[in-house]
């Protein structure tokens, strides 16, 4: 029942893990002839410095951060770094795109909390910075939200294999999919306790996890979060939107869109019940 081992070779890569935004950001940079390994250290430092700045700016755990002061009304948008306006715009946009199910204002006290979007946004920006620096083949994994670019590291496939963690069973995967130049976000109720709130302020419980594949990590994250908040009809909703998505409900049943099934490399299709 394990995902297969192949006889493939793996391209050399530089791996770095940075703890920031309350989670682990792991960078896999594939080193090619045109990208000396020393450059990887330099760009990784720049990228992680920026991530720490974004963390300080948008952390809701620090009462004195820009986001805390902004959401208490102590600072105007103009008094915040320009990224704040961008984040507010994104939250507005995804609130509309997800029929209101992605809601940065839905927490218990209705304070503006864009945490759901900041991590994905930061990971995507990190990926862009890496690409601009010439590292066009890489993977950024922000605590389970994944952005990959370019050819994967394995000689067996041009794509990157992304395992999806099982929402209920620790140390188990429920699927492995292939992606290239795309992002994968998984939102789950087990991740941090109930961190997804419905519009009436109650936690969402019908789904155990939702995974969305998209070109844009913020988009994927917002829709995965919205699907989880939405509950039972989420898979139909995602299907109608034409999203490649995978949902595990609270009973352990799995639902995949056709596009997601096409990407799946494990378990084999013959094992579908």
């Amino acid at each position: 029942m394990n995902p297969p081992h192949t006889d493939s070779t793996q391209d050399p890569l530089v791996r770095h893990t940075e703890f920031v935004m309350g989670t682990a950001f792991t960078f896999d940079l594939i080193v090619e002839v045109s990208t000396p390994a020393g450059d990887a250290t330099t760009i990784l430092r720049q990228v992680t410095d920026w991530l720490h700045w974004a963390d300080r700016t948008f952390t809701t755990y620090d009462e004195l951060s820009f986001i805390s002061r902004f959401s208490r009304g102590e600072l105007s948008l103009a008094e915040c770094p320009p990224e704040m306006e961008h984040i507010v715009e994104m939250c507005d946009r995804y609130h509309g795109l997800t029929d209101g199910w992605f809601d940065a204002w839905a927490g218990p006290d209705h304070r503006f909390d864009p945490s759901g979007i900041v991590k994905g946004w930061a990971a995507q920006r990190a990926s862009e910075l890496l690409a601009q620096a010439g590292f066009i083949r890489h993977c950024v994994n922000a605590g389970g939200d994944v952005a990959v670019r370019g050819r994967g590291p394995s000689s067996a496939s041009p794509q990157w294999g992304v395992g999806i963690t099982h929402p209920m069973i620790a140390d188990a995967l429920c699927a492995v999919i292939n992606v290239q130049d795309e992002c994968v976000a998984t939102s789950g109720t087990s991740q941090r306790g109930h961190h997804v709130w419905r519009r009436d302020g109650t936690p969402s419980t019908q789904l155990a996890s939702a995974t969305v594949v998209s070109r844009d990590l913020v988009w994927a994250d917002a829709f995965a979060t919205a699907a989880l908040a939405r509950g039972a009809d989420a898979i139909e909703w995602l299907y109608d939107l034409g999203v490649d998505a995978y949902v595990v409900d609270a009973g352990g049943d799995e639902w995949s869109t056709p596009g997601f099934l096409d990407r799946r490399v494990w378990p084999p299709h013959s094992e579908i019940r």
Partner: protein, 178 residues
């Protein structure tokens, strides 16, 4: 301008013990103890050993019906550091830096596991990675299930361990400020 800069660095260590493979539950047990604090001069360094309480990573989703497909390890993900049925996945260490009463930096570092890693499911790279942590080990262990897996999407226990360590560090720091 004379500035009194009090730098306080608190280290919290969260040990994450996970039940042996084939067990569907994650168990984090133990107690939290604050060891001696160096009170001489700044930076003040104290060490908080946290083993996160059980509630931290216990899934809030009741596991009633077993899912249709479960992928298990083909072997232990890493060598057991503790005897018995618990696998130690790693250690998360959090450092916070404060100036006056303000946190100016939060950083997590990690400790390498005790001894060598090994076991059928372990990738050769694991011994060469110096900054270990529970999530990475978990992610590594999951990736090691097949070489078709480059990375892992979805829940990691990072946040829990990190937050737990951070809270312990904050508590220690507020105690030191008094």
């Amino acid at each position: 301008m004379r500035r009194v800069i009090a730098t306080l660095v608190v280290t919290a260590v969260a040990l994450i013990a996970v039940l042996s493979y084939r067990s569907p539950k994650v168990r984090l047990t133990g107690t939290q103890t604050l060891s001696n604090t160096t009170t001489s001069q700044s930076p003040v360094r104290s060490r908080v050993t946290t083993t996160a309480p059980e509630s931290v990573t216990t899934s809030s989703v009741p596991v009633t019906t077993p899912p249709s497909r479960i992928a298990y390890f083909s072997g232990p993900p890493i060598k057991a550091v503790q005897p018995g049925d618990a696998w130690v996945f790693g250690v998360v260490e959090v450092e916070i830096e404060t100036r006056a009463s303000r946190i100016i930096d939060v950083e997590a570092t990690t400790l390498p596991p005790t001894g060598d890693t090994g076991g059928p499911g372990t990738r050769p790279t694991t011994t060469s990675i110096s900054n270990y942590a529970a999530p990475i080990l978990r992610s590594e262990a999951l990736r090691a299930q097949g070489d078709s897996i480059a990375t892992v999407s979805g829940a990691t226990y990072t946040s829990d361990a990190f937050r737990q360590s951070l809270l312990a560090a904050l508590r220690a720091s507020s105690r030191q400020r008094q």
